[in-house]
Symmetry: C2
Amino acid sequence: MYKTCILKILMYICPMYSSELIKGTLKTIVLNLLRDKGRMYGYEITAKVKELTEGKIQITEGALYPTLHSLEKNGELETEKEFIGKRVRKYYSLTSQGQETASQKVNELADFMNTMKFLLDLEPKLGNA
Amino acid sequence: MYKTCILKILMYICPMYSSELIKGTLKTIVLNLLRDKGRMYGYEITAKVKELTEGKIQITEGALYPTLHSLEKNGELETEKEFIGKRVRKYYSLTSQGQETASQKVNELADFMNTMKFLLDLEPKLGNA
DNA sequence: TTTTATACATAAGAAAGTTATGTGTTAATT
DNA sequence: AATTAACACATAACTTTCTTATGTATAAAA
């Protein structure tokens, strides 16, 4: 199979961010999307993120599903199953706790990105006066 | 000892970013600082980052030193030892390869942050037209 | 009919941190 | 004078969080 080779070519044409960068932002991305869309199922989340970022951020299923499960276990998300024909879909939505966490996480990330921009000299000044 | 308690109070007064966020940006921070300052030693790097970010980003030594060693091993950094009295300092500076890597990493992070801002609806539009 | 897309799940391994510990010097405090 | 804090390095055990690989199964397309 030429899968490996094809993937390399694709990566050259359509570069993705190195995975370290995505680490730590996954929960925030998921919570924010769910806040925006109301309810989504796992596969839909991966597709939406890929679409919105033009393929630059691709959430793998091995990363997404454990994250969803842990968020649910932690009381941030609740689920309902739906059958499309014989195929199961698991829809996730935010609990009220999840709403709060989503806001917190997004604010923290926004703040962090401002700090990073300042630290990396990407902005002339830290507009703080 | 009241260390734990004091730390909690400090965290409340002066909040730090959750560690997941810092993960993946450490190399970029270090490379960019060294590009800016020419040469620095480890302890100085932690102090400078803390100062520039008003305590919001605090690089631990357990994270920094392994990172410096791996960057050196990888040919991005070179070192010279200096003695201040009887105390050793290890100064790090970028190799020419390190210069290139620094630029790449900073560009990638800047790009990533733009994408994230768009994804999290923090900007009205992705100015792309 | 075989591949691709949809849709879930989990397990082994790697990466990159945290936390804890260790060594030793120098300055400040009590 | 003695102890604590700051300086300055290093490493090792552990945790978290992802990647990669694998597994199951349905539906649509080639």
